[in-house]
């Protein structure tokens, strides 16, 4: 299906309901779909399960916690060992108000890829002998132990691209590809904010990172400014 182009991030979120499972792309400052996050905040949708590599680590996803819109996070960075710069999510987590499934970053990326690729599970050595293995099937093969990890899918993915064409093809810039490209494959509804929308045919076919088949909605948005906090 040809992607639909929306006029505002708020309109682009139409139909997202309370209790939705939402993937959010980006890596810290790089290509976070912050305009869509802000629209989701304005929308007030609640009881969300958010899947993102980071929440409260230089991203604005944490702001959804202000009005307690997030019930659960599936993430690889979510809680610091120190409480010196505590995020809203962390504070709620430490008070037992939100649920957290902490996933190694590579396993998170691969589970999302599996969700998009029709893979029912995969074996990885990541996490063997650690807390991550708790409750998971451990398989012995060729003298090694492997964890069976399961795919992740979402109702909605919010991602940010550098350029989109009207058909829905996406091009990411530099380290902006990160989880955006993977999550675009694994949700029933994929909503993209793009720095630029170009005519179909303008993106070079060899340099399209996300083929149009994965994209449902596009909205043009300037990047929300991110300041480096100088860590």
């Amino acid at each position: 299906m040809t992607a639909t182009i929306y006029e505002s991030p708020d309109e682009a979120l139409e139909g997202i309901e309370d209790g939705a499972r939402i993937m959010v792309g980006g890596f810290v400052s790089a290509a976070s779909p912050t305009n869509l996050i802000f629209a989701l905040k304005r929308r007030g949708t609640r009881e969300l399960t958010v899947m993102a590599t980071n929440i409260g680590f230089g991203d604005r996803l944490d702001e959804l916690c202000e009005d307690r819109q997030v019930s659960k996070a599936i993430a690889s960075f979510a809680v610091r060992a120190s409480t010196a710069r505590e995020s809203k999510f962390e504070a709620q987590y430490r008070r037992g108000e939100v649920e957290l499934e902490l996933v190694p970053q590579g396993t998170l990326a691969e589970r999302i890829r599996a969700g998009g690729a029709g893979i029912g599970g995969f074996l990885t050595r990541t996490g063997v002998g650690t807390q991550v293995a708790e409750g998971k099937e451990v398989v012995n093969w060729e003298g090694e132990e492997w964890l069976l990890e399961r795919p992740l899918r979402a109702d909605v993915a919010l991602i940010r691209a550098h350029r989109a064409d009207r058909l829905g093809n996406l091009y990411y810039r530099l380290a902006g590809r990160n989880f955006n490209a993977v999550m675009a494959t694994a949700a029933d509804l994929v909503i993209v904010e793009a720095e630029e929308i170009v005519e179909t045919g303008e993106l070079p076919p060899d340099a399209i990172h996300t083929p149009a088949v994965y994209v449902d909605r596009i909205v043009r948005c300037d990047a929300v400014e991110v300041r480096w906090d100088g860590r």
Partner: protein, 223 residues
């Protein structure tokens, strides 16, 4: 203890010592914190390819220029690119890591056991902690170097018979570089290979919980 109060290596000197372990032309992932400093001590002519798990191969050092939010390493820090750098998505990046394509990963550590178990993501008494890419790097890198302080702030050993903190990986550490020593992890346990200037092997052993064999060519760290 006699050794208390003696000078230990600075973080920069630990990073410099780690940098000497990196073979020319190798592909290296530097973890957040102390390991990140290693990059500054890698000479350009060594042609080290730095990988960052957010999807970059071939970045240079930190950028002093304008901050580009889409050009950051796994610690979110602004970086420069070297010629020949490439970008890829997170699934491809961890395929590279888990698949054994990274020669060396340098990670920070909280505890390392006699068997090379690593704990580096959670301090249970404080609660919390995040895994990030550490568990993938622990199993995926061909060689894992842990760069850490030899003891906690209050002087307790970080090199232990058994880790007491939640593990990052089991039997994954190959080399430990601390502010006091270089310790190799082998099938038979730990071997003390180098001591910091001014430190005697016995003094290092006294602040190490796990048994340390002494290398035949045990020597003072060259810095």
């Amino acid at each position: 203890m006699a050794a208390e109060g003696k000078a230990r290596l600075t973080r920069e000197l630990v990073a410099m010592r780690v940098a000497r372990e990196l073979a020319p032309g190798s592909t290296v992932n530097l973890g957040v914190g102390l390991p990140t400093l290693v990059g500054a001590f890698v000479p350009p002519e060594a042609n080290i390819l730095l990988q960052s798990e957010n999807g970059i191969l071939g970045y240079g050092g930190f950028s002093e220029e304008a901050f580009d939010p889409e050009l950051v390493n796994a610690g979110g820090q602004p970086i420069r690119l070297n010629p020949g750098a490439s970008f890829f998505d997170s699934a491809a990046s961890f395929a590279m890591i888990r698949g054994g394509h990274i020669d060396v990963a340098v990670l920070g550590g909280l505890q390392v056991s006699a068997r090379g178990d690593l704990a580096n993501w959670s301090v249970p008494e404080r609660g919390g902690g995040s895994i990030g890419g550490a568990m993938d790097l622990a199993v995926g890198a061909r060689c894992l170097i842990v760069a850490m302080e030899h003891t906690t702030k209050d002087g307790r050993p970080r090199i232990l018979r058994e880790c007491t903190y939640p593990l990052t990986g089991r039997g994954c550490v190959d080399l430990i570089v601390t502010d006091l020593a270089v310790v190799e992890v082998g099938p038979a346990g730990l071997t003390l290979r180098e001591v910091a200037p001014g430190w005697a092997p016995g003094e290092v052993a006294a602040v190490t919980d796990a048994p340390l064999a002494l290398a035949e060519d045990l020597r003072e760290m060259e810095l």
